[in-house]
């Protein structure tokens, strides 16, 4: 029963990631006992096969190929436990057969890929001609770009949909699983798939020759190359009938009829882009999120279950296993479902399969049964559990040192150098870094060990590699200590491998990411955050770039709140930058500039509503702090002048004016007499209650002991309240109550005592009245205040 080509070589067509295919392939391997197993896959990855079959390797894993130069292009070949290719490699290793990849090397593949993309962009629309421009969509590993293209390719989908419809199935996935995966009869699978691919080719090839010449040529080149590789294997001394070729179903028909065999001259003319190749751990989650890629993509864990059941000869029990797993997951998340319902769900799935003349339920049957029985008709109830069971959480693993991208090498070297190797475990570990120079050691490297560690960890964060999490640390060590939680995970490994595309070392990749962010940055707050990031990562060049970006953005900005937050970031770096050994002098002029702008727009920005006032207040606070911290750099006198403006002008937000007043008092710019004049001006009778009380609220935001020490202030407040009419009093009360709500109890007591003194009441009596429980009547009065109607403002 050989399906050999002209010279008797066995060809076995599969769908990638197909447990059924893997099962049939294994029995075929046992029957033929080949000495050479030739697999469709990048020829330059052949040396990786020994790593793939290593006993420590746990799929899912992937072969990643990427160009060394920009623009970075990638190609990915994922393998799961149930991939026919993977099983074939394992078989070959166990039986001392020679396994090799026979498809175009990745360098050629990626170069051709570029040409295809180009051709696709240039090609005019085809109208409604039903071409299948990529007939091997379901059997080919696709690069990222290609997948996206496919996703939007409606014409393409329609052909597969038509096949499914003819077979009476809702979608192609159902058709495939029912017709091929469940078919365990020996030979039936191979024959069926061969017939299918021949017909598919016949259907699409003619159209393709005319409308998609590039696609046609691409496949022809690949097949010629594969034939060449097969021929090479024969020349190396393998008996043709002891060679088994495993390829995508689409190519099976072509290889069988032996197309053109590529010559040496032709091979030399193939386009190339220098590429590198590595193995990487992969995850089911990633496998499932790759739309457009072959069978098993939506439900890798389901297919793994199927594979396990097939291996133990209990495929019949897959529905039981699947549905009871769903029920168990539902119960764990708090939705109780009985065993009786699981039993009925299995029965229903079976009878759905029978309606389609299938031998066993496919995933869709199981889903619908779960929806009806376990979800009581509602898909939303079971959706999460289904997704959990379909996708699974498996993450692949490779033996140490197998996955080698330059960035992994670099990271391992850095880990060694910075003595972080022991933290590379899956157990979360705390690490406290002291960024200051350690003067007790001799070498510079160990003196700044912690600082360099911090740089690395910040860079990893920037790259989105989830290895280190920064905890907010206690205030007193804020500037020189950092607390990290370190936890390594296979996901992090994957993220590291992917970062290869950004640069060859951690530093280069981080710089690239930062540069990209800078280019995309549009607000000054963002830019200032990036300056901080650059500083934390110790990246001097990017620091300068970030400075320029911030400067450019600041020129047009008039929002004091944003400017203040940017200035604050700068100020912190300038103050503590030397801890990170960063040259901060170039930042000082920028800080001056920002501060200047903030001063100039302070009064404009203070014409704001109360909602914004809180933010403005903290901005003013930041700016005030900067003026104190960097007195020699920034224009302090301008700042004080602007504050006085803010204090004395009546057309600005009263709260902010109050706040400015308290700042000026605090800085001793305002003399006692001026202060009391201002207070009495603000709290003079006739001033609307909300303005007066609002002003007082602003005033009371700052140093309260300073306020409490000024008895005259309280006298004035008391007089002001006395002078209020009943209506105004209620209004003022609302504001004052809010102003005092932030005072601590002992502060309130002090106020009460002060007022007691002013009113000539005994201090203790006052305190007693104040600390007493509220009477019902009083409670009601306060509640009434809550309903106070502010009518017109």
């Amino acid at each position: 029963m050989s399906t050999g080509n002209g010279n008797g070589v066995h060809i076995f067509g599969v769908r990638h990631l197909s447990p059924g295919g893997a099962m049939h392939l294994l029995s075929e391997l046992d029957r033929i006992q080949p000495t050479a197993v030739l697999i469709e896959g990048p020829a330059d990855a052949t040396p990786e096969i020994r790593h793939l079959v290593h006993r420590k390797t746990r799929p899912p894993v992937a072969i990643l190929s990427f160009t060394a130069e920009l623009p970075v292009r990638t190609a990915l070949w994922p393998l799961a436990e149930y991939s026919p290719e993977y099983q074939a490699m394992k078989w070959a290793a166990d039986h001392r057969a020679e396994a090799s990849f026979i498809d175009l090397p990745s360098s050629v593949m990626i170069a051709l890929q570029e040409k295809r993309d180009l051709a696709r962009k240039q090609r005019p629309a085809l109208g409604d001609v039903p071409t299948a421009e990529e007939p091997d969509e379901q059997t080919e590993p696709l690069s990222l770009e290609e997948r996206e293209e496919l996703f939007s390719d409606h014409q393409h989908g329609s052909l597969y949909d038509q096949i499914a419809k003819l077979a009476g199935e809702d979608d192609y996935e159902m058709y495939w699983e029912r017709s091929y995966e469940h078919n365990l009869n020996p030979d039936a699978y191979r024959e069926a798939i061969l017939a299918f691919s021949e017909q598919m080719r016949a259907l699409t090839e003619e159209q393709e020759k005319i409308h998609a010449t590039v696609e046609y040529a691409y496949n022809a080149v690949r097949e010629a190359y594969m034939c060449r590789k097969i021929q090479d294997a024969i020349q190396q001394g393998h008996q043709p009938d002891r060679i088994l070729v495993i390829c995508g179903a689409y190519h099976a028909a072509a290889l069988r009829t032996s197309v053109h065999i590529m010559t040496d001259e032709e091979m030399k003319t193939l386009p190339q882009r220098p590429t590198r190749l590595t193995l990487m751990p992969y995850s089911y989650y990633r496998l499932s999120s790759m739309s457009g890629y072959g069978a098993g993509n939506q439900a890798p864990y389901y297919y793994e279950l199927m594979w396990q059941q097939m291996k133990s000869g209990a495929l019949d029990e897959l529905p039981h296993l699947y549905l009871s797993s769903v029920a168990r997951h539902l119960r764990q998340s708090g939705t109780h479902r009985s065993t009786a319902e699981v039993i009925e769900a299995v029965r229903m799935a079976r009878s759905l399969a029978a309606l389609h003349h299938g031998s066993a339920p496919v995933l869709r049957d199981l889903r619908d049964a779960a929806q009806t029985l376990l979800g009581h008709g509602d898909l939303a109830v079971v959706a999460e559990s289904l997704a959990h069971i379909n996708v699974g959480t498996s993450i692949g693993h490779l033996a140490e040192g197998v996955s080698q991208t330059p960035i992994q090498d670099d990271l391992n070297r850095l880990f060694k150098e910075l003595k972080l190797g022991k933290y590379k475990t899956t157990v979360a570990t705390d690490l406290v870094l002291d960024l200051r120079e350690n003067r007790r050691v001799r070498t510079e490297a160990s003196a700044y060990l912690d600082l360099n560690r911090s740089f690395l960890l910040h860079r990893l964060q920037l790259l989105g590699i989830r290895f280190a999490q920064l905890k907010s640390s206690g205030q007193e060590q804020a500037s020189w200590a950092e607390q990290w939680v370190l936890q390594w995970s296979p996901e992090a490994e994957i993220q590291v491998v992917e970062s290869t595309l950004l640069g060859e070392t951690v530093e280069v990749a981080a710089a690239y990411v930062l540069q990209q962010k800078l280019e995309a940055c549009t607000t000054i707050a963002e830019a200032s955050r990036l300056i901080v990031t650059a500083c934390e990562c110790g990246m001097v060049t990017q620091l300068e770039n970030a400075r320029q970006t911030l400067q450019r953005l600041a020129v047009d900005n008039q929002d004091v709140i944003q400017i203040a937050s940017a200035a604050k970031g700068l100020s912190t770096i300038i103050q503590y930058g030397d801890i990170r050994r960063v040259q901060t002098e170039p930042l000082v002029p920028l800080l001056e500039q920002l501060f200047m702008r903030a001063c100039l727009f302070l009064t404009d920005n203070s014409q704001c509503k109360d909602e914004v006032a809180a933010e403005m207040m903290s901005a003013i606070h930041e700016l005030n702090t900067i003026s104190l911290d960097h007195g020699e750099a920034v224009d302090e006198s301008l700042w004080l002048h602007e504050l006085q403006q803010l204090m004395s002008r009546d057309d600005l937000n009263a709260k902010l004016s109050g706040f400015a007043c308290s700042l000026l008092m605090e800085r001793n710019v305002l003399e006692a007499s001026q202060a009391s004049a201002e207070v009495s001006r603000r709290l003079s009778p006739g001033v609307p209650a909300e303005l007066g009380a609002g002003w007082f609220e602003g005033l009371s935001q700052r140093n309260r002991y300073m306020l409490l020490s000024r008895i005259s202030l309280w006298e004035q407040l008391s007089d002001y309240i006395d002078a209020l009419e009943q209506d105004d009093f209620v209004r003022a009360l609302v504001f004052l109550r809010r102003a005092f709500s932030t005072f601590a109890p002992h502060e309130k007591n002090m106020i009460a005592e002060l007022l007691g003194e002013i009113w000539g009441v005994h201090a203790e009596q006052v305190a007693e009245v104040l600390t007493e429980e509220l009477k019902a009547e009083e409670t009601k009065m306060i509640d009434d205040l809550n309903d106070f109607d502010f009518d017109d403002f």
Partner: protein
């Protein structure tokens, strides 16, 4: 129903009468395995509901839209589970239930029509009291419920509007569905269901006067939720087909509505139902009542009756407007405002094609 009644005098024919020739053709060409107590194989039932061909006879589709739901319903009945069809009013629950029963059992008349007044006797059995008093409890004096009769015959009973019954009455089904027997202690015997027995129940999700179903009862049903038609084409097809059938059954002397009228009515219904114009650009208010596909069908047949009786026999915009007014404005004032807003904000701006209908509606909705 007595045999003397000729079919023509019956106001509404049952599905097995209406589609007798289709059922017959399906039975004759059926090659699949027929489950015990069934008239035909599950595949044939599927063809009967979703349409296709049986030999040379065209089978009209009875349920248009989601074929997979019908497969799920049939698969449920194959496993002798009871089926519960849930959905908003007018999503063809009863229609599907009747047709499934007609195809599987051949007789869709064993119906319990659930109301707030339905008692446990309607679900189980009651007595002919004259005979009970005269002879004591005898099998002759027993009045079987439709469900009991279905058990005896190995057929399918339908329970319409199950959620309108009181919870206690609903729960009478629990033991019937799990034990598949009804015991009659007065006679000292029990009625065991024959193979093929099942129940298809229907229930509304949101409506007034609906009782929550107990978890124990829900657990004994396979629950399938029937959605409103998902595309306008599907809905137009449903409406066109049913209007045609009803018109011929009632012998309405009016022309079947033109495609344009169908399109307009379905568009208005879909827009008001979803609270959004079809192009998703405008938000709308929805009227308080339910505006289902079934209402669109009855609206069109009403309008046809109007046209036939008082008009020229051609469906005019005025006839449609009268129908629309009745279907949409149920809760007088609020709905009237909703409808007015729709007319002025949406329909008026739709261009010349809609002008006639707009003015007709505007006139009625004063």
């Amino acid at each position: 129903m007595s045999n003397q009644e000729s079919l023509h005098e019956v106001l509404r024919q049952s599905a097995e009468q209406l589609y007798a020739h289709e059922l017959e053709a399906l039975r004759q060409t059926d090659t699949g395995k027929v489950p015990a107590g069934w008239q035909m194989s599950p595949q044939a039932v599927l063809t009967f509901i979703t349409g296709g061909k049986a030999g040379k006879v065209d089978i009209t589709p009875k349920y248009i839209g989601n074929r997979r739901l019908v497969e799920m319903a049939i698969a449920t009945l194959v496993t002798d589970r009871a089926l519960l069809l849930i959905g908003e009013p007018g999503t063809a629950k009863s229609w599907l239930s009747e047709n499934l029963t007609a195809a599987i059992y051949g007789h869709s008349g064993l119906v319990v029509q659930g109301t707030a007044g339905t008692t446990e006797e309607h679900v189980r059995y009651s007595w002919n009291y004259a005979m009970l008093l005269a002879n004591g409890p005898t099998p002759e004096a027993l009045v079987q419920s439709p469900i009991m009769r279905a058990m005896e015959a190995g057929g399918i009973a339908r329970f319409e509007e199950i959620s309108r019954c009181a919870s206690e009455v609903q729960d009478a089904l629990i033991s019937i569905l799990s034990e598949k027997t009804i015991s009659v202690p007065e006679l000292g015997k029990e009625m065991n269901a024959r193979k093929g027995f099942s129940i298809i129940a229907t229930a509304n999700t949101r409506d007034r006067g609906v009782n929550e179903m107990s978890a124990a009862l829900k657990r004994r049903f396979n629950i399938i939720v029937l959605p409103a038609p998902d595309s306008i084409e599907t809905e137009i097809e449903i409406v066109r087909k049913r209007v045609g059938e009803i018109a011929s059954a009632y012998d309405l002397q009016a022309a079947v509505p033109a495609e344009e009228a169908l399109h307009k009515v379905v568009t208005i219904f879909r827009e008001l139902r979803s609270g959004m114009t079809l192009d998703k650009k405008n938000k709308l208010k929805s009227p308080a009542g339910v505006i289902s596909t079934a209402e669109a069908i009855s609206l069109l047949t009403n309008s046809m009756a109007l046209a036939a009786s008082f008009g020229s026999g051609e469906l005019t915009d005025e006839d449609l407007a009268a129908g629309l007014q009745g279907a949409i404005v149920k809760d007088d004032d609020k709905d009237r405002i909703v409808w007015k807003e729709y007319l002025d904000n949406v329909m008026k701006k739709r261009g010349a094609d809609w002008h006639g209908l707009y003015h007709a509606c505007k006139e009625i909705n004063q």
